[in-house]
């Protein structure tokens, strides 16, 4: 711990750890020293000169090394001839900071006057107007008049696309370099920078495509003026016209806390519409950041293709029907089916939805299945992160292992936070079949043969990193499903748990297992008791009633698609008329998460609450409500009136959730840095967390639990003319929640098959060649992409990009025309 230092700021005594900057020490006691370039998440640069203050230091007698005292016994303080920047000056013992003197006030006025000389003053049409630090500080410290001639202002272009997501207004830019520093320091995508010099200094991008970074949206938040705007929101609304609701990102297991800004729109017939999604501060989850997928892929809720009415099958077609009819028909079938009911629920649903669906299923004696391509949840529940742990606390004495996950693509904010931990001194071990962005920051990269990942984890404690791992205070292990099928992820989770146990880190603070689930609430799925099952195809085929909620098996897998033909009666709850819904006998239209409330549990096992952002559209119901209402027809007393009441029931039943309530989940505490407070803020737009930081779940007890064992070698052995095809995950896949956001269209993953050039030569394949890839009896057109990072003999294919492939398999690719028989072996 750095030692504490006491100083005086504007007459108030403050004690803070050595190394604290004057500006931060002041803000901690509510004294606002205005800043533009300084941001507590970035290295100080002292560029804008807004934070100038008077700083005095005690006079030390050089001969005796003792402080010199005034006649009145107070220590003699010497002030420097110049003002100093509070954002670059660390505090020192006995320092006296004056931020209220005329000299300081004049300096603020001067710097503001300089900043405004060439500023366009288009506040009336500026996106930042109303939440703009330049505007606010000018009101507070600036002058009402301009002495600078309007005609001499620098005129610059105002609609410069830096990429397809971010626009720059060169006139509004105050050259604070926050955006450049964010891209360089925080996310290691130095794709924007300054060009030219002096008044001509301008932000440019030098990447192809422009501003090529999956975190680009964050720069629009921390930009202290309206210079950077998103293509999505620019000129969309004034900040004061919008209401906001606390929400969560549902795209990945990080569970970024968000704020949804909404406004009534003429465009949508006077309905309340979502205008933008912003990060909401949660220093233990996403800090103040989010990725571009979370920020921009929300338009699915507004899609005109949403289901609006329940549907019922009459003959070969689906017809609109009433809720009453649909509910009674569905429950009638469920009743008849008895134990022939099979329910598939996915991690897209909330905890409340899953709980009610499980209750409905179990009371009928049916089978409740978690629809997930990953296993290991029961291990995570015992070897996960202990409550109180925070990735932000990992540093010098920590080891982080990431195995089979490209965190940058699959859980971007975890990648960012792992990188921060490494910057603080954590040792990263990266284990994967192909290079990922983790390798660059890893102390050790283990490139393994596909299928041998779990063996590599098992070997850590006998390898050259063994001592470092054993001696580390904290050991955090991420495991994912890159190139792995469900069974293999289970083996991997087990190997990771054994590593934690053997190295002595299991169930210790800031240590544990974090699953990189494929959905935002897959953890909740496990917690609510929905586990993935074997023989899912057979179960689908033999179900008397199959209830599918938040999943689209017909689209995911041709074998499941064929099995669905055999299902006696199919009930689907979904937002859209998915391939599965089109096969259904009854379809219930559901509310999007933006239209209702509920909870999700993140991969770190933090239960978090989200709130309705827009009013629920007429005629739609939440998944939990539908389950409860079907239950009611069957005489079950399931909660349907409020998510909070469902939560009460599940908390009473599920041990980890015991004692939790909605009000508890809504609790917050002070966070650093201070954001969102207009009086002491660091500038930029950011939302403080006033609606809940969520609660980190306790671990389940270990007794009666044995880490599953089994064969760790999952490698495939293709013949000479075959390829072992491994599914990998890309950030922007073609899932419905992403494709409905047109802004992201150009970045979506394609149906490409990545192979090593040597493999290509052996198999007579060329770059860009179109071939057919057989998967489970059907064949799909894919394009060959040559990539030297792919292991030889293997082929990688992005998941959910047009080819329904979940498990690694051996396949023989064939040209699209011709008479080659394709065959499959798994």
């Amino acid at each position: 711990m750095p030692k504490d230092i006491t100083l005086t700021i504007d007459g108030q005594t403050v004690t803070a750890p050595a190394g604290t900057l004057v500006v931060d020490a002041a803000k901690r006691i509510g004294i606002n020293i205005p800043v533009f370039c300084y941001h507590p998440k970035l290295e100080p640069v002292g560029m804008c000169r807004m934070c100038l203050v008077e700083i005095g230091r005690p006079v030390i007698d050089r001969t005796t090394n003792n402080p010199v005292f005034e006649a009145d016994g107070k220590p003699k303080i010497q002030f420097g001839p110049k003002l100093e920047t509070a954002c670059t000056t660390p505090i020192s013992e006995g320092m006296v900071v004056v931020g209220l003197s005329d000299k300081v006030k004049a300096a603020r006025k001067d710097v503001l006057e300089f900043l405004l000389t060439s500023h366009p003053l288009d506040c009336p049409i500026c996106d930042k107007g109303g939440e703009c630090p330049l505007q606010n500080q000018t009101l507070e410290y600036g002058s009402a008049d301009s002495r600078f001639l309007l005609d001499e202002k620098m005129r610059l272009s105002k609609h410069v696309p830096l990429g397809d997501l971010i626009f720059l207004d060169r006139e509004r830019c105050i050259q604070c370099a926050r955006c450049v520093r964010f891209q360089t320091e925080i996310v290691d995508d130095p794709v924007i920078g300054f060009y030219n010099r002096g008044r001509k200094l301008e932000i440019i991008t030098d990447s192809q495509p422009g501003f090529d970074s999956i975190f680009s949206g964050n720069t629009t938040d921390i930009c202290p003026v309206g210079a950077l705007t998103t293509a999505d929101f620019r000129f969309g609304a004034r900040p004061w016209e919008m209401n906001n609701a606390a929400s969560l990102c549902t795209h990945c297991p990080v569970g970024c806390n968000t704020t949804i800004n909404v406004r009534r729109e003429a465009k949508t017939g006077g309905n309340v519409s979502i205008k933008r999604i912003m990060p909401r501060q949660n220093e233990t989850v996403n800090e103040i950041w989010m990725c571009d997928k979370g920020r921009f892929a929300y338009h699915f809720a507004d899609s005109p293709d949403r289901l609006k009415n329940p549907l019922i099958r009459k003959g070969s077609e689906l017809f609109q029907t009433t809720w009453t009819e649909a509910l009674s028909a569905a429950s009638e079938k469920i009743k008849q089916a008895g134990s022939g009911l099979v329910t598939l629920a996915s991690g897209r649903l909330t905890n409340e939805d899953i709980y009610n669906l499980r209750k409905l299923t179990e009371t009928q004696g049916g089978t409740f299945i978690g629809y997930s391509r990953m296993a290991g949840g029961e291990i995570v529940n015992r070897f996960g992160m202990l409550p109180g742990s925070n990735l932000g606390d990992l540093g010098k004495d920590s080891v982080i292992v990431v195995v089979s996950s490209d965190l940058h693509e699959e859980a971007p904010i975890w990648w960012l936070r792992v990188r921060e931990a490494v910057k603080r001194g954590a040792v990263l071990i990266s284990i994967s079949i192909r290079p990922t962005r983790l390798d660059k920051i890893a102390a050790k990269t283990l490139r393994v043969e596909p299928g041998r990942e779990a063996l590599a984890v098992d070997a850590i404690l006998t390898g050259d990193m063994a001592d470092i791992v054993k001696q580390a205070k904290h050991l955090l292990v991420f495991y994912g499903s890159d190139g792995l099928g469900r069974k293999a992820t289970g083996q991997l989770a087990a190997a990771c748990a054994r590593l934690l146990e053997t190295s002595g880190h299991a169930r210790r603070i800031n240590s544990g297992l974090i699953p990189v689930w494929e959905r935002g609430n897959t953890q909740g799925l496990w917690d609510m008791g929905a586990h993935p099952a074997d023989q899912i195809v057979e179960r689908i085929a033999s179900a008397r009633v199959l209830l599918v909620a938040g999943a689209d098996p017909a689209n995911d897998d041709p074998m499941m698609e064929r099995a669905l033909e055999k299902t006696e009666f199919l009930i689907v709850q979904d937002l859209f008329a998915t391939a599965t819904a089109r096969k259904a006998d009854i379809v219930f239209p559901v509310l999007a998460f933006t239209e209702r409330e509920g909870t999700y549990t993140s991969g770190e096992r933090r239960v978090q609450r989200f709130y309705p952002a827009v009013p629920a559209p007429e005629g739609l119901k939440a998944d939990y409500e539908i389950a409860a209402e079907m239950g009611a027809e069957l005489g079950l007393a399931l909660e349907s009136s409020a998510a909070s009441l469902v939560f009460q029931q599940l908390a009473a039943e599920i041990p980890q959730y015991s004692g939790l309530t909605y009000p508890l989940l809504a609790k917050t505490s002070d966070q650093w840095p201070i954001v969102g407070r207009p009086d002491v803020y660091f500038g930029g737009t950011s939302y403080a967390n006033r609606q809940g930081l969520g609660i980190h779940l306790p671990l389940l007890p270990l007794e009666d639990f044995e880490i599953p064992s089994g064969d760790l070698d999952m490698s495939l052995h293709p013949d000479a003319h075959e390829l072992a095809v491994y599914p990998v995950t890309r950030l922007l896949d073609r899932g419905i929640t992403v494709t409905t956001s047109p802004l992201l269209a150009s970045r979506l993953a394609q149906a490409d098959l990545f192979i090593h050039p040597a493999t290509a030569r052996k198999m007579f394949l060329n770059a860009d060649m179109q071939v057919m890839l057989p998967v489970d009896g059907a064949a799909y057109p894919v394009r060959i992409v040559l990539d030297e990072t792919v292991p030889e003999g293997a082929a990688l294919i992005p998941r959910s990009a047009g080819v329904p492939i979940h498990e690694p398999q051996v396949a023989q690719v064939a040209p699209p025309v011709g008479d080659h028989a394709s065959r499959v072996r798994s």
Partner: protein, 417 residues
């Protein structure tokens, strides 16, 4: 033998050839240092000589070297050959005509701080000089005067040239380091200072070309000899770049402490066409404008006296003479234009202030300004002062505030027509 210490080429033809340089005692100092002196002894000799930096700030050279921590390696030495100050053209003559003495000086500095790599940073316009230096350096490797295990000792040294892209700010030492590292030429925040966090984050000494060229004679002849030249606190000789309204502009190597009068009238041949001297700028475009009265003319040109008598730093000693045909508002427009063009843009007061001032001075010089604009110009300059991140911003205001203070009538003349 030559009476010159730095400009020996003026007496010795072809001194820029290695054999000629060697025949005239070249590389004796570095041999002496490496073979017979410890690095600390070299450092102490330089410290004792009282040599002060010739790049502008006049900081004692030996003391600067002594700030390098002994527990952080490697160390680097960088020669500042950016020479971009308007009115300064002294280093160029050394580099062109006496390059080996400069290189030997750089080697001495490197040896003193035990740097194995030293860089020469040249302004982009010096590309021909850089090529020439590269050839010189090649020759030194070939002669065994550079490279591994010099003169049978364990000491190795490599020299590298690096060209800038034509920015005055890259003469500022931290912007220079950024530029060598391949970044945008903008000054760094200090602390940490280059002595602890310099090139590639390592302890670094940055010295001006002229400073370094003083080192071979100091090591050869000793600190005591050096102190016999110049004044007590500013020992040695200095090259004065004389320009402007003077009959014989050029570089003059004279002892520190020579008066302005002697430089201008004895060496520079006085003011042309019988006009009278009006003002002096002692440190190029960065200096204050000093009325050329007797007090000014009789001021000795050393670091203390110019500061004390004229409230003007000697800087790099680029003395610009202005005669009575020059309107100071015109002059100020020129200097401000320069600084606006050269401001790196990193900090607000300089980026915006130089831009604003340049509009005001342009209007004043063009006779388009309102009377209030003179005060406004003065206010803008004072508003910048004390707030800039590096000295360039402060420099840009020097001629403005002193010009308005001392020569207000020149400005008034242009606004009240």
């Amino acid at each position: 033998m030559s009476a010159y210490i730095l400009y020996r080429h003026r007496d010795i033809p072809n001194l820029n050839q290695l054999d000629v340089y060697q025949k005239n005692g070249g590389f004796e100092a570095i041999k002496k240092a490496i073979k017979t002196m410890s690095p600390a002894a070299v450092l102490n000799e330089v410290k004792d000589s009282g040599l002060r930096g010739r790049g502008g700030a006049g900081f004692p050279t030996g003391m600067k070297w002594s700030f390098l921590p002994g527990n952080l390696w490697p160390h680097y030495v960088v020669a500042n050959a950016d020479e971009s100050e308007p009115g300064t053209f002294k280093d160029r003559e050394i580099l062109e005509s006496n390059p080996f003495q400069f290189l030997e000086g750089l080697m001495l500095a490197a040896y003193a701080v035990q740097a194995n790599d030293a860089y020469i940073y040249l302004r982009g316009e010096f590309w021909q000089i850089a090529r020439r230096l590269d050839t010189c350096i090649e020759e030194l490797y070939a002669e065994g005067l550079l490279g591994d295990k010099l003169f049978g000792t364990k000491y190795s040294l490599r020299l590298h040239t690096h060209l800038g892209a034509g920015a005055y700010i890259c003469g500022e030492e931290t912007a220079l380091l950024e530029s060598i590292e391949g970044h945008l030429g903008q000054p760094r925040l200090r602390p940490p200072f280059p002595a602890t966090f310099g090139l590639f984050g390592k302890p670094t000494v940055i010295n001006n070309v002229e400073t370094l060229t003083n080192l071979p004679p100091i090591i050869e002849k000793g600190a005591a000899w050096f102190k016999t030249l110049g004044t007590e606190k500013s020992p040695g000789v200095k090259i004065f770049s004389l320009s402007g309204c003077v009959n014989k502009p050029g570089n003059y190597e004279l002892p520190l402490g020579t008066t302005f009068r002697e430089l201008i009238f004895t060496h520079g041949g006085g003011i042309p066409d019988g006009r009278t001297i009006k003002a002096i700028m002692s440190a190029g475009a960065s200096s204050v404008i000093v009325p050329a009265d007797d007090r000014a003319l009789d001021t000795p040109m050393d670091y203390e006296s110019t500061q004390a008598n004229l409230n003007a730093p000697l800087g790099s000693a680029s003395v610009i003479i202005l005669d009575d045909s020059v309107n100071m508002a015109w002059l100020v427009n020129k200097t401000v234009h320069f600084f606006r063009h050269e401001s790196c843009g990193k900090c607000t007061p300089c980026r915006e202030g130089t831009y604003w001032m340049s509009h005001l001075t342009r209007r004043i010089a063009a006779g388009e300004a309102a009377p209030d604009d003179i005060d406004l110009l003065n206010i803008v300059a004072r508003q910048m002062q004390g707030k800039c991140l590096c000295a360039l911003g402060e420099f840009s205001t020097m001629a403005v505030t002193s010009g308005i203070e001392k020569f207000r009538a020149d400005f008034e003349k242009l606004v009240n027509h």
